[in-house]
């Protein structure tokens, strides 16, 4: 599916026009329609799981997991709770922007859900440019919205064109009051340079890490720690910006980093390779994987599984993995050392997952750390952010309201 500029412009006009009707509906009605859409989408995505697997490169069980965990957050109560949070701090009615254009990336197919549902909830119509490699899910979402409500369905549409098509891009953004871009820093910079004064919400390159305190590794907790981290690593085959690439592990006299890594590999990532199998490894990523694994072996220790690898090495220098379930364990003396290491990542750090015992300390320390704006959450939940989780250091409704 590829649209030309006239089609993009026509869709933009009709979505913009539908905004007035959308805004005339009540927030409660919109929450109800969106929850109904999520239920429909859950069923439709299940029916199209093979097509989604092919389009995303994820295995069918992973597609099903991703769909379920994402759409489970689109409930009437959670949306109304979010709306209450948004309203807090203002006694005026919400003043949504007239239209949002969204440019999606292809790495995490469900990332579109929060980026589309929340604007619609707040009364903002949305025109979506699907990733060139993945148009199936956005189209299913659009169809689900239409089936829930004609008002809602008219306020969202999907277009597709090649990245860098300047004419289509201009048609996509010229009616928008705000543009939201998911993708590499290069993509974000290229779009920013072309849209002039239109406000841009950038979701550029990002990486995430995890921290595990010593108590998370004791015999009482290690099983849960391994299970949670394995899910965070395997979800979306580690391709998302919320996927942990590095796990800082507090050294403990009772559990060495090497012992922990071995158990993570054998008891966590290995079995998860069967329950949530990795998708097909693109050979180009495989080339990077072979280089990364070799360096990991030269500079530390590498544990290889069938479809994963765990590197144990000093925290510096950071060697970013090619994703696809290649993760680094870096032993540290404690939170201080882990946070010092995170400073080097700067604003690219999107999320820090921690064991529950360390959560409040890490959260507080990150809040005091000006170069870092990472979101903190318990391990096991890194890839399933709640509806109201912040994104890139901003509330999820950032730039969608004028007041």
């Amino acid at each position: 599916m590829t649209d030309d500029a006239s089609v993009v412009r026509a869709h933009a006009a009709s979505v913009l026009e539908a905004g007035a009707t959308l805004r005339s509906s009540t927030l409660e009605a919109r929450a109800q329609w969106l929850a109904d859409s999520a239920a429909t989408l859950m069923k439709d995505a299940h029916d199209r799981r093979d097509a989604l697997s092919e389009a995303t490169g994820l295995s069918v069980p992973m597609v099903e997991w991703a769909t379920r965990t994402t759409l489970d957050t689109i409930r009437e109560d959670s949306m109304l709770a979010l709306a209450r949070t948004v309203r807090r701090g203002t006694d005026r009615d919400l003043d949504p922007v007239t239209m949002l254009s969204v440019i999606l990336a292809g790495n995490v197919f469900t990332a579109s859900v929060r980026g589309i549902v929340i604007p619609l909830l707040l009364g903002v119509p949305v025109l979506v440019k699907a990733s060139s490699g993945e148009t199936v899910f956005p189209a299913l979402l659009r169809d689900a919205l239409r089936s829930a409500s004609t008002q809602l369905g008219a306020a969202m549409n999907v277009v597709a064109f090649s990245g860098g098509d300047v004419e289509c891009e201009a048609a996509l953004v010229e009616s928008a009051e705000v543009v939201s871009v998911y993708g590499s820093d290069e993509t974000v910079a290229a779009v920013a340079a072309r849209i002039g004064d239109t406000p841009l919400v950038a979701h550029g390159h990002g990486v995430s890490v995890a921290y595990c305190g010593a108590h998370a590794l004791d015999e009482a907790h290690i099983g849960n720690t391994i299970e949670s981290l394995s899910l965070d690593i395997c979800a979306y085959d580690q391709r998302g910006c919320l996927s942990p690439q590095l796990i800082y592990v507090e050294q403990s006299p009772h559990r060495s980093a090497a012992d922990f890594a071995e158990r993570l590999s054998e008891e966590g990532l290995g079995p998860m390779g069967s329950t949530l199998p990795r998708g097909t490894l693109p050979v180009s990523v495989g080339a990077a994987q072979a280089q990364w694994r070799g360096i990991a072996e030269v500079e530390g220790t590498l544990l290889r599984g069938n479809t994963h690898a765990v590197s144990i090495r000093e925290r510096e220098p950071i060697r970013w993995s090619p994703a696809y379930r290649n993760v680094t364990i870096a032993p540290v003396r404690g939170v201080d050392e882990a946070l010092r290491a995170m400073q080097a990542i700067g604003p690219h750090l999107k999320c820090v997952g921690t064991d529950t015992g360390s959560l409040s300390e890490v959260e507080a320390r990150l809040a005091d750390s000006s170069p870092l704006s990472a979101y903190t959450c318990p391990i096991g939940e890194m890839q399933t952010p709640p509806l109201d989780a912040p994104a890139d250091g901003h509330p999820i409704w950032h730039a969608l309201l004028r007041n």
Binding site: V283, S284, A287, A290, Q291, V298, L302
Partner: protein, 354 residues
């Protein structure tokens, strides 16, 4: 215990035997690579850390050459150090040689067999810097040796960091007038710049002329589809496509591979364009997960076991994608995301391209 001298003699014997027309026994080569890898693993700690998977010794990723000195000899014994192109030290692979004998033997034997199989010596025109201008480039070193081994006369048309189009034109016109065959050798980027700079000037080089181009595009300058470049070079220099061949080399390697069409155009029969692998080298597309050879013509990542790499590591895992074709291989290029580097980039940087 195997000594370095014994290994060197075995490698040299294999290559010179091939040069003398002897059949190289693949089993003997494999055994040599095995012994060599064992010797290297004991002397190079980085290599000794790699675990073996499958029947062959482990292969060291090329990226390790960017971060670590990979040499079986101490630094003070370095005779020559080659570096890949790049702007920062972490982007440049470093390959230190304490002894260039095997490099020379391998380079001469491969070029003699694939690039100059029909002539002792001929006129060379080189679209690359002289080795004095780029002393740490293995390509420039090799081209300088070619001038000694295969050149009746040799002109470097790259001077003071720029491609001298006037000098190139002058020498090609001379070759046309004398009807003497010429070998034009250079980086792919240099040929692109020649193409861009020569305008309407075209040449009709004498029969027997040939072109060797090397290096990829590195994403650092105007990128030209290899087939388009091949057609452009053919039209520009008046040399038939079979006589225009690619050389595949790398800083981390001591041996080179050449496309087959020139040799087959001379000797026949003509097969598909593919890279010839010297018989002292194993070039194998492998599966990225298992690192084991892929089946048939499946695309894999290219592992090269180069017996001429005596004082570093002979088993190398590149980031290039490749597949087998007949008795050779086809390199499909560097995987997106892998660090761009290579001989061709030095020339491009010298031209100020961004």
């Amino acid at each position: 215990m195997t000594t370095r001298g014994e290994l060197k003699a075995r490698i040299e014997g294999l290559i010179t035997g091939f040069e003398a027309g002897q059949q190289v026994d693949a089993a003997a080569r494999d055994e040599l690579i095995e012994d060599l890898a064992t010797w290297q693993a004991k002397r190079i700690p980085e290599y000794g850390r790699l675990q073996r998977h499958g029947a062959w010794p482990p292969a060291l990723p090329t990226d390790v050459f960017r971060f670590r000195r990979i040499a079986a000899h101490p630094k003070e014994d370095d005779l020559r150090v080659f570096r890949s192109s790049g702007t920062t030290s972490s982007e440049r692979s470093v390959h230190a040689y304490g002894d260039l004998d095997l490099y020379d033997v391998a380079a001469r034997a491969a070029a003699r067999y694939m690039l100059f199989p029909d002539v002792e010596k001929m006129v060379l025109v080189i679209l690359a810097p002289h080795e004095h201008e780029a002393p740490d480039s293995s390509l420039e070193y090799m081209l300088a040796r070619f001038a000694e081994w295969f050149g009746t006369q040799c002109t470097w048309v790259w001077r003071d960091g720029a491609l001298d189009l006037g000098l190139l034109t002058e020498h090609l016109h001379q070759a046309e007038a004398s009807e003497e065959a010429v070998a034009v050798l250079g980086t792919s980027f240099a040929f692109v710049h020649a193409e861009d700079g020569l305008g309407a000037r075209r040449f009709e080089l004498a029969p027997g002329s040939r072109v060797m181009q090397t290096g990829g595009y590195k994403g650092r300058s105007r990128e030209v589809n290899p087939e388009v470049l091949l057609a452009s070079i053919s039209a520009r220099f008046g040399v038939g496509a079979p006589r225009i061949i690619n050389e595949f080399g790398a800083t981390e390697l001591s041996s080179q591979m050449y496309e087959t069409t020139l040799r087959e155009d001379i000797d026949g029969p003509m097969g598909p364009r593919r890279l010839w692998v010297p018989p002292w080298v194993r070039a194998t597309p492998v599966d990225p997960d298992t690192l084991q050879p892929v089946h048939g013509e499946t695309v894999g990542i290219l592992r090269i076991d180069d017996a001429a790499n005596l004082d570093s590591v002979c088993c190398i895992q590149t980031a290039d994608l490749a597949r087998r074709l007949d008795d050779g291989i086809v390199v499909l290029g560097r995987a997106p995301g892998a660090s761009p580097r290579g001989c061709s980039l030095a020339a491009d940087q010298a031209l100020g391209a961004q």
